[in-house]
Symmetry: C2
Subunit: 570 residues, 2 copies
Amino acid sequence: MNAFQPRTDDMNFILCEVLRAPAQLQALTAHAEADEALMQQVVEEAGKFVAEVVAPLNRDGDEVGARWKAGAVTMPPGFRDAYQAFWQAGWPSLACAVEDGGQGLPAALEAMLYEMLSAANHGWTMAPGLLHGAYECIKHHASDELKTKYLEKVATGEWLATMCLTEPHAGSDLGLARTKAVPLPDGRYALSGTKIFISGGEHDLTDNIVHLVLARLPDSPPGPKGLSLFLCPKYCEDGSRSQVFCERIEEKMGLHGSPTCVMRFDEAPGWIVGEPGKGLNAMFVMMNAARLHVGLQGIGLLDAAWQKADAYSKDRRQMRAPGGSAKAGEADLIEQHPAMRRILDAQRAWIDAGRVIAYRTALELDILKHHEDAARRESASRWCSLVTPVLKSAWTDQAFHGASACLQVFGGHGYVREWGIEQVVRDARVAMIYEGTNEIQAIDLLLRKTLPDGGAGLLQLLAELSDDLGDDTQGQRVRAQLDHFSAFLRERLLPRATAQDAPADLAHWLADDFLRAVAMLLMAWAWARIGATAGAEAPRWQAAQTGFWRWVWPEFDMRLAMLGASLDGA
Amino acid sequence: MNAFQPRTDDMNFILCEVLRAPAQLQALTAHAEADEALMQQVVEEAGKFVAEVVAPLNRDGDEVGARWKAGAVTMPPGFRDAYQAFWQAGWPSLACAVEDGGQGLPAALEAMLYEMLSAANHGWTMAPGLLHGAYECIKHHASDELKTKYLEKVATGEWLATMCLTEPHAGSDLGLARTKAVPLPDGRYALSGTKIFISGGEHDLTDNIVHLVLARLPDSPPGPKGLSLFLCPKYCEDGSRSQVFCERIEEKMGLHGSPTCVMRFDEAPGWIVGEPGKGLNAMFVMMNAARLHVGLQGIGLLDAAWQKADAYSKDRRQMRAPGGSAKAGEADLIEQHPAMRRILDAQRAWIDAGRVIAYRTALELDILKHHEDAARRESASRWCSLVTPVLKSAWTDQAFHGASACLQVFGGHGYVREWGIEQVVRDARVAMIYEGTNEIQAIDLLLRKTLPDGGAGLLQLLAELSDDLGDDTQGQRVRAQLDHFSAFLRERLLPRATAQDAPADLAHWLADDFLRAVAMLLMAWAWARIGATAGAEAPRWQAAQTGFWRWVWPEFDMRLAMLGASLDGA
């Protein structure tokens, strides 16, 4: 089994040619330096670090795994050294502000870095994966005192961070959290309670760990409005060990390189972050960043699986393929078999389109932060709000199902551990659950972000996608489909779903198919964009484009049919 | 985690009410005794054995697994005792002929037994899973001398059997096998070569193991026609250990309770089974039986996953459901959430329809063997030949993907090992590969069984399905779809795919979608049959039926669209 090798050529093509990121970024004062040469240089350097330092540890991450003993967690072999090298080289702070100790580079570069890292070693990447969200959360919500103490440590990644949300009795429903925060005389709060599913709650990668914890002040109202956010370090400023403990780590299907911790807070001192009762607001900053990152994990994991399957299919022979070239008594290469070719081309269609959509989302984050025009910032905000749940849900779903399809390319060898492909399938499964299950992403898209404004935001996004297309055949085809879906939305779905007499559960029945239909449209837009780019006439892009239209896109009509049946049946 | 408990009520409803199996079987002289009381009694007894003896060993099967040491394989705790109880109680020989030491009961009962066993403990069930195929192979192809020595031992399961096909350099392409068989003076042959992926190649369940081995006689032609079949026991008649060794067992994604062996034959003596050069013919008897059994594994594994998810969804609460009944500040049951309800109902639609199709296939096997009317035997043969690959492919695919959907019902808890649902997902994955990958099933259906007779057999099957339906609304709906697909087949697919100028690979591009479309039609037929049965007005059947039409059936039109695109593109 070979370790993962990032395909920086493909990534750069999407970023610089398809999305023309340098021109867009250089139009922002903050990123005037971000020309194509700089972008490519960073991506190449990142690719080298990922391939040389992080990828080789992936197998041990799975087989040795993180180990718990008496409250301490030992990470798999090499993980600590790799992490120390990672933060000391400045990678975690790539897109953090210069004044906070960061490098002030565009979010798109950070996105590409984390995609590669996830592909190379999902378990290891879980550790720094939450850093940027924690950084933004502290930067925007913490007091100046707290920022002085923690912001740079988190920006640089010298200390790692966690998100302590879930409690044993309540999974996705954070409003039911019971962890208590009791004021202490010194302005801090004593936190008591148990949190579960805490990724990286304990480890030996860094000298300190900064926990961001949802908890309830005394006399706070029940439900989500009674929740506040607290920062609780493993080691206090005076060097004393805080009363926060890892009680055990979960035995999981995969992702053994990342300890999933049960954390007990036993009057552990912490500071409040933001206002009392506004804990969820502050936390959502982290969760949105995290959802984009999980979507990137999906793309990365699918690419990891694809690369393994592609290499295997070019190396191994199996039976005679129709129109194959093998000599009598020999077999053809696996890649020559239509059923295998279909798997490879369809998965690559997902990877390529996913990159277009994810990198574009990262670009919109930079535009949202730095653009001078309020209308442009608004459209960037709309993009991030609507596209992030689609990216998270559809591409983590595809990471698992597509990795399983890639496993099929290996035949029986795919099921044995030797080739590493089954690890990708096991590791990828969790991303459909964490940071809001994929079903919650669908509810977020339809019930929280589409129905409340009568579909105005989504219709606007669809119109912008349409305007963004050229008049070539593919552009016209996609524009017609965008129009078709917009009409369906305006004329059938919205009137029925927002009708006074609509059943209370109607929109919930629609949500999953709705998200998938939007995912198909975003992919179609992405493929039209790729198709209209000079260089995309190369066979490598043409094969994936054909794969998209033949094997992926037909799902769109199926989702419309399912939506129609749910609307009619309601 | 509770061990699996078979739902014999559901299984009996399908067998006796929907399929009216007793009446059909009693019309055969060989099964005149098979009335409803007898059928139900056997199913209940089987259910008890499965639940009490086999199911409790499933977790240890995964966690301890089969272990190799110096050529010997130790099975997980309790496996040997359970197997000894199993064969001594007469379960392996349920459907074997009375004169061979069997009980002569219908194949449908054996099908139900193996479905339950697979659901309860897939790893354990791999051991006896090949017995019946080996029995048929020896019965129909071996010499009288060989039958005297081995038939009863295999029929009763006192000795277990293997199928030694695959070699390291050639997976699905058996024609490339190189294992040699050199004649010995006593009429036996010395077998030499290496076979891989041999399930149960070595273990401690039985005192002897009977290997059925594909090998090549000296001077035999290259390719599949040079292969002969041999029977090679682990212990020879004189008690001496044969030169057949287990070199190692594979480390796999799941199915740890079943040792997947690399077997080395080192001039091991064996007898020829059937004629020289006809090894594949004899082996196909085993493979067809095995494919039905693998389809049943798919149904069983999906049921195992469904039962876990169903129980969890009725026990745990999570967020507020639309129209839910929870008090303020509390959460609703998981089963009340539409996204979770959809998963549960859609998977049950697959399980129920799968049973109708699989049990019907088993009934047709009995009819094929015992019916007096040659035309009826011919239609039974057609059913088994065409439906078996569909059942194997579509239901093993669904076992994996549906088990993953059921895992989602658990949220984060589904990813940890505690609840046992992730084991089902890992175990189920292999069934998409072994006994002919699912892609090979699709090629079998279209290229080997549909195109060669110009579609006559399949069109006849579709017409018989249509004739079998009533004139109720659902019956009419399904009949219209059967007609629609038959017309598509006659007018578009067959003329194009069999045209002289058709590209050599066209049919290969169509095969996967073609199999899925046929699977959808079989499911629609099955649901029309269930719907027309007294008792199916109960909510349990109605919910699954609605699940089928809303969430499963829309795939049919998508597959037609994909087939159309492939035909047009060609």
